[in-house]
Structures are given as structure tokens and as C-alpha cells.
């Protein structure tokens, strides 16, 4: 008796969870079963602390073919085609071993996409690190980027967009979120629902070793009971194996031999089998001695919990094993039958014919308790709202702008994306550097636009607004490319949800996401929750990440963020307001994230976006760029970069100059257009009820800004661009 009390806590379960298991089973689970509950009822697999709130997100809509619940979500993009997408975090593994952690994160999310029957066509990533002045941070950053690049490059999937912020709240616990996007025809979708008694269950891909079992606390039971040698190993990514798996699966899908398919992710065989059985309302029986292993003397617990990468579980039609096997063989893989589908609702594990575990699949996969935690508004919010800046009026605008452009968070990210193959598959129309990536869809006139956004600083100051802004900014980025936003995938990164203040952040975030998704018409079709992102020095900023896809029906309308013609008029859609809170400018001056999070009026946001999109539809615009971190001055600078053009700007707002130039007021887009179209645009703005102002004109090679008739800035664009472009490389060399 005393031994089982010990066991459940080591498996990461609470007393009440253990009691619930015993009650449902009408017996006590054995050690292996307990381990399986431990991983399946862990936060990572069961979403027990987030499920209740996630239910409040909008997930349906006309274009939505598959919402959350499967390996990835699916949205219709017209002409019988659909986009499959999902984001996933690999924060903790990347903190321990950045290269492999990031690489296996990418590998995992790619499998989630092709397991749905889609061909992966793009990768995105969202990263958070501490400041680059520490060598540990540089080490993490360098290797995470290399890990992401190497995996995607080897797979031949272009990494087309991403975002990165540097702030010491992430120093000990970096965030690595990877997103993958795939494409298929509607009818090609595959599900992970095991059906048909007697159909064989095949395991294919890499062999099983003792990798990555650290996730569940239970692994340490084995440690104490067995030898110390057996400690779980770092997961190593094998993109070559995954490439073979991908091609083999896509070839396999062309036959009709596949009943169900599911990748092996967290909790390995345990989760993939019981989830497949539960979704199919069937059962699965597997024989452990059939599982091909990489190491000797593996115990049943080790085999069932192993998180070895690059493995897939496939249920095929009985009698078709040979045919399936020969496709795998062609690709140098072997598919091994490890079990079969049953109809008893049980997940049964045998070891040489002897039953070693037998559990209701549904109980294991879906019936973990759901918690709604207590929440409290964090105390820190009382003091962060206030700030006092002295001597703001006589600052040197040029120096401030240059310093801001050289902040790694704002600086050009070429150092990163030049390490990613962003062109392979020759469909990337807009490469990294603009507001969103655009990919053409071969065989159609269509394109899709992709972006990933989120601002932890805003969320720290106000998670509701910050989350809403993440959705708004993502949509704005797409709209600037000429795309109509369709749906999002969300990556939610937080501290320990058992703490009231963290749970409050989480709750507010979800509410903010839901509000923005509802207004902007972009439901959530998939996502990921990562809790416990904390170190001794505290939790990370609450950091929701929004990945979004949009569609462009006529590819000839794709628009980029850069000015392209000298003499074009420059306009601002939206309004300059006094918003310095949470800005990168304030952080640069004070070293702190302070002030009030910028306000967001979702209805206003929607109007501004509609106006921009309609203007692009009518071919009025030559460029469009959203105003985000760094404010108007940074946005204008970015519009000048790339093509060697400049701008002559006259502002007449009466805001304090720093708020005007560097404040991060929302719902603003900088556009440029031919003089002759000015009238049409102004008319359209009137129809949509959006305030717009003429800012100036595209000029030759210099950025000049006058405010209320006084020149405040006059600088060669080349000088700005050099600092902006070289900042990260420079920081990495120090």
C-alpha cells in the first residue's frame, strides 16, 4: 500500500487523480499503467489546466474544415484546396540542448501536418531569448536558429517567416515555437481514428530508444529502481529519416490502404495508441516484443514512454500490409506490425503474449480531470503602469532612432533568415523581410500569406489587450500583403498555472484572443499550450503567439512593405495617438517594461484593415506596412530599406515628439501610392470611416521628418539601414 502512495506522486499524479483512476478502473493500476496515466494525464498531454478555458475560443466558421482536436486544423482556401496548420512549443528541450531541442521541435510539428494527409509547404518560428549581452543567450540563440534551419533545410520545406524578441525575462527559459503549414485537396484529409477490428497497427520510421523520457516525472522511478545508466537521453533529430517518412506517407496516401495515421509525439506509443483508439471509439492491442528498438534491455515502461523522434503509427486495411510495406521499403524504411485494432475500447499492451497493461483508451486519452484554477490579478500591475520621463523634448531624434533600429528586437533579422532556406519549392513570392510571407499555390492564381506574431511585453502589462493585439497585428500583417485573414493557430506560453497570478494571465489572454478572433473573423483551428516556463528568477512574460493564414485570390495583387517609386504619396491609415506604454523605446530608455499597454479598439482595427485590403483589391496601393514595435519612425525607416529610396515626411500632430515618432499606437498602416490615386483612396477611407493623413512623399535616399514645420530628422537612409541590418550580427560577434 505504501508503495503505491509513493508511485502516483512520482508519476506526477495527485492523490485525487490517483483515487479517480482506481475508482474508474475498479482496481489499482500496476506500475506500467500508472506510468501511462502519469504521462497522459500530465499537463502536456491532457491540457487539464487549460482545457476549460480553451473551450471559450471561437473555433468554427464557414471556411473551417477541421478545428482543434486533431493533429492540426484545416481551413478552406478555395478551389477545393485546404491549408493545414499548427504551432508547437519546444521551450524546455531547447533550454537544455538548444540545437536538438529546436530541431526536434520543427520535426514534431512537420509530422503533425503530414499526418493529416497534407504536403508541408512552409515553416515559421517564433523565438524569445534574453538580451544578447550574455554569452549563454548568444549560445542559445545561435544554436536554436541553427537547429531550426538545419531541420527545415534538410526537409526541403522553406522557413518563410518568424519573429524574435530579446528580453531578460526569457533569459533562463527561452521560447521556441515552430509552426508548419501544409496544403492538400479537401478529399485528401486523413484522420487518426483507429477503426475496423483486426486491422493491423504498424509502427514505421526510427527505432525506439530511451530518448526524451524526462517529460514525465515517472521516469525517475525507473532511475532509482534500475541503474543510473538509464537516465533519459536528449532527443536527437534525424531530418533525413523524416524526409523519407514524409515522402513514403504521401505515396502511401495515394493508395486507399490507410485507415488512420498518427505521429508519435509526447508520450510516444502510449499517447498515439490510446488517442487513436479513443478517437475511433475502438480499442488497440499491441505486442511490445514487436517494437524495433535501438537499445538493449529496455523495460516496458521505457518502450511505452520513449519519445524517440521520427516515428509514425499507421492503421492499414487488413491484407494490405505487403503493399504498404513495399512502399516503405522503397523509401528505405521498414514498417513493423506491432498490433491490431480491437472493439473492446481498451488499450492493451502485451509483452510476449502476457498482458502487462490494459486500460480503457478513452479514460487514458480524454478523461483526465479538468481544472479551473483560482485566479488573482498580479500585484506587480499596481506599479508598472507609471513612469516619468525627463528631458524628452530636447533629445536627439536621429541618435534615438538609430539606437532603436539597432535594438536586436527591432533590427533586421537577416542574420537569422539567411540561415533558413526560404525559397526551396520555388513558391515563395514574398521572402522574409516584408510583413508576411506569401506563397503561390501552383496550378491556381491564388496565393496564401503567412505570419506569426505576439508581444509578451504588452501581455505582461495587460494580457487581455496584449493577446487581442497579437491577433490584430497578425491580421494586419496579412492585410498589408493583400491577403484576407482566414484562421489562426495559437501558441500559449506561460508560467506555472497553479499559481493564481499566472492563471489570471492565462484567463485574460484567452479572453483577449477570443474577443479579437470574434471581431476579426479568424477562428482558432489549432494550437499549443506550454506552462511552467519559469526559473528561480520568475516566470516569463505571458506570451501568446498567433500564427495566421490568409488567402490572396489574385496573385498579381500581392503587395510588399517597401516603397517602390520615387514621388509616390505616403499616407497613414489610422491615427497617431499617445501610446508609449510597453514600447521598445521606453524599454531602451529605462531598461523596464512599463506603462500602460497600448489601447486596441477592435472595431477600428477591423475598419483600417478592410480599407487597406479594399485599396489593394482596387490596385490603389504600391506598398503597405504595419506600424508595430518602434512606432511610426521605425515603420517609415523600414519602408525605405531595401530599395534605396527615402521619404520626406511632414507631421502635424500635437503629441509629444517621442510618442508621435516611437509610440506604438495600434491600428496604423503606412501605405504609398501613385499621386493620381490619392483621390480614390481618400474617398474610400471616407466610405469606411477611417481617419487617414497624408504623411509626405517617397524621396531619394534620405529620410526627412518635419514636425509642425520644424525639421526633427534628416538622415541618409543608408546610414539607418546599415545599423539596422548589422545589429544582430554585431551583437553575436561580441
Amino acid at each position: 500500500m505504501s508503495s503505491s502512495t509513493l508511485d502516483y506522486s512520482l508519476a506526477g499524479l495527485s492523490q485525487s487523480e490517483f483515487d479517480l483512476i482506481c475508482e474508474k478502473l475498479c482496481r489499482e493500476p500496476n506500475l506500467l499503467e500508472l506510468a501511462m496515466f502519469g504521462v497522459m494525464w500530465s499537463e502536456h498531454c491532457s491540457y487539464k489546466n487549460s482545457r476549460a478555458l480553451l473551450k471559450t475560443l471561437p473555433t468554427g466558421g464557414n471556411a473551417i474544415l477541421q478545428g482543434p482536436g486533431e493533429n492540426a486544423g484545416i481551413v478552406d482556401i478555395g478551389e477545393g484546396l485546404a491549408v493545414v496548420m499548427k504551432v508547437e512549443s519546444h521551450n524546455h528541450p531547447s533550454a537544455v540542448e538548444p540545437y536538438q531541442g529546436a530541431a526536434t521541435g520543427v520535426g514534431g510539428i512537420i509530422r503533425d501536418i503530414f499526418t493529416m494527409g497534407a504536403r508541408p509547404i512552409a515553416l515559421l518560428n517564433s523565438l524569445r531569448f534574453g538580451e544578447l549581452d550574455k554569452s549563454r543567450t548568444r549560445y542559445l540563440f545561435e544554436n536554436v536558429v541553427k537547429g531550426i534551419g538545419d531541420y527545415g533545410n534538410c526537409m526541403g520545406i522553406p522557413t518563410v517567416a518568424g519573429e524574435i524578441y530579446f528580453d531578460d525575462h526569457y533569459a533562463g527559459n527561452p521560447l521556441v515555437n515552430a509552426m508548419c503549414v501544409g496544403i492538400m485537396r479537401h478529399e485528401e484529409v486523413k484522420y487518426a481514428r483507429a477503426k475496423g477490428v483486426g486491422n493491423p497497427v504498424m509502427l514505421v520510421g526510427a527505432t525506439t530508444g530511451r530518448d526524451g523520457m524526462g517529460g514525465a516525472a515517472f521516469a525517475s522511478v525507473e532511475l532509482t529502481e534500475q541503474s543510473l545508466e538509464r537516465k533519459s537521453a536528449v532527443q536527437v533529430g534525424d531530418p533525413f529519416m523524416e524526409k523519407l517518412l514524409l515522402e513514403a506517407c504521401i505515396e502511401l496516401f495515394k493508395t486507399d490502404a490507410v485507415i488512420a495515421i498518427q505521429d508519435l509525439g509526447a508520450a510516444g506509443l502510449t499517447s498515439s495508441c490510446c488517442e487513436m483508439a479513443s478517437r475511433g471509439r475502438s480499442g488497440i492491442k499491441i505486442e511490445l516484443s514487436c517494437v524495433p528498438r535501438r537499445e538493449e534491455a529496455m523495460t516496458p515502461v521505457e518502450i511505452m514512454l520513449s519519445e524517440s523522434q521520427e516515428r509514425m503509427l499507421v492503421v492499414v486495411k487488413r491484407g494490405r500490409e505487403k503493399e504498404v510495406g513495399s512502399i516503405f521499403e522503397k523509401w528505405g524504411l521498414s514498417g513493423t506490425v506491432i498490433g491490431e485494432v480491437t472493439d473492446d475500447g481498451l488499450f492493451t499492451v502485451l509483452e510476449r503474449g502476457k498482458v502487462v497493461a490494459s486500460l480503457p483508451a478513452r479514460l487514458l486519452a480524454d478523461d483526465a480531470p479538468v481544472y479551473t484554477r483560482e485566479s488573482t490579478r498580479p500585484a506587480y500591475l499596481e506599479s508598472v503602469g507609471l513612469f516619468d520621463l525627463h528631458e524628452r523634448e530636447d533629445m536627439n531624434i536621429k541618435e534615438t532612432l538609430i539606437a532603436l533600429l539597432a535594438r536586436p528586437t527591432i533590427a533586421g533579422k537577416e542574420w537569422v533568415y539567411s540561415q533558413y532556406d526560404h525559397m526551396v519549392r520555388t513558391s515563395t513570392v514574398t521572402v522574409p523581410g516584408s510583413d508576411s510571407a506569401v506563397l503561390r499555390i501552383r496550378g491556381t492564381d491564388r496565393a496564401i500569406a503567412l505570419t506569426i506574431d505576439g508581444n509578451g511585453s504588452y501581455c505582461y502589462l495587460d494580457p487581455f489587450r496584449g493577446a487581442a493585439i497579437a491577433v490584430a497585428e497578425a491580421a494586419r500583417n496579412l492585410v498589408c500583403s493583400g491577403a484576407r485573414p482566414l484562421a489562426i493557430t495559437d501558441g500559449l506560453n506561460f508560467g506555472n498555472p497553479e499559481k493564481r497570478e499566472i492563471y489570471w494571465q492565462f484567463k485574460e489572454t484567452i479572453a483577449g484572443l477570443a474577443a479579437a478572433c470574434n471581431v476579426l473573423g479568424t477562428p482558432v483551428i489549432s494550437g499549443n499550450v506550454s506552462f511552467y516556463n519559469e526559473t528561480e528568477t520568475g516566470a516569463i512574460f505571458p506570451t501568446p503567439i498567433v500564427g495566421m493564414v490568409g488567402v490572396i485570390e489574385d496573385i498579381s495583387k500581392v503587395t510588399e512593405s517597401f516603397f517602390i517609386n520615387e514621388g509616390d504619396a505616403i499616407l497613414l491609415l489610422g491615427e497617431n495617438t499617445h501610446e508609449l506604454g510597453g514600447s521598445e523605446y521606453l524599454r531602451m530608455l529605462t531598461g523596464k517594461t512599463i506603462g500602460e499597454c497600448p489601447a486596441i479598439d477592435l472595431e477600428r482595427e477591423k475598419k483600417v484593415q478592410r480599407l487597406c485590403l479594399e485599396a489593394i483589391e482596387r490596385r490603389l496601393l504600391n506598398s503597405a506596412h504595419d506600424c508595430s514595435e518602434g512606432g511610426l519612425a521605425v515603420a517609415l525607416s523600414e519602408c525605405c530599406f531595401g530599395k534605396g529610396l527615402g521619404a520626406k515626411i511632414e507631421l502635424n500632430d500635437t503629441l509629444p515628439i517621442d510618442a508621435l515618432l516611437f509610440g506604438e499606437a495600434q491600428s496604423r498602416i503606412v501605405v504609398s501610392l501613385d499621386e493620381s490615386k490619392l483621390g480614390s483612396l481618400l474617398g474610400l477611407a471616407g466610405e469606411f470611416g477611417v481617419p487617414v493623413q497624408v504623411l509626405g512623399r517617397v524621396d531619394r535616399s534620405e529620410l526627412k521628418i518635419d514636425v509642425c514645420g520644424r525639421e526633427v530628422l534628416s538622415v541618409p537612409v543608408g546610414e539607418l539601414e546599415a545599423r539596422w541590418k548589422g545589429a544582430i550580427e554585431c551583437a553575436m560577434r561580441s
Partner: protein, 81 residues
């Protein structure tokens, strides 16, 4: 003076590269290859008398090997040039 450092993957860590080489040898007709593991040799030429074993050990720990996944050994040889 020279230090030769041998860096190998810890037992239990997957070695995709070794696996691919094993399969290649196999398909080239070399039978009987059970397992291949690939590591690194790092040859470091040092100025004479400049560094001792403790220093080399420190180099290995801090840079040359990733001790989360790799083991290392090294030897020093006096060979002058």
C-alpha cells in the same frame, strides 16, 4: 605540444549519421556491420609549455564537447615542431 581530443556520443544518444553510414555500408555489400557511431577528433597544437591537462580539460568541458550529449577523452603528446 599537441592535445588530441576524442569526442563521442554518449551511450543511448541516437546517431542518425552513424545509422545512415551503416546502411550505406550494408547496401554496398559490406556484410556484418552491426553498428556505426561517429564522433570527432580535435587536434590542438599548443605553444610549448603553454597549457596543461587541466586547461585542456576545461576547453573540452566549455567548448569542445557538449557534455549534455557527448563524452570526451584526450591525450597530450610532447612532439615538438
Amino acid at each position: 605540444m599537441k592535445a588530441t581530443v576524442y569526442v563521442t556520443l554518449k551511450n543511448g544518444i541516437a546517431d542518425p549519421q552513424g545509422l545512415a553510414v551503416r546502411n550505406a555500408l550494408d547496401s554496398m555489400g559490406f556484410d556484418g556491420v552491426k553498428r556505426v557511431r561517429i564522433g570527432k577528433i580535435i587536434e590542438i597544437e599548443l605553444e610549448d609549455g603553454c597549457l596543461d591537462e587541466t586547461k585542456v580539460e576545461e576547453m573540452c568541458r566549455s567548448l569542445l564537447a557538449n557534455t549534455v550529449m557527448e563524452d570526451f577523452t584526450f591525450e597530450m603528446s610532447g612532439e615538438k615542431r
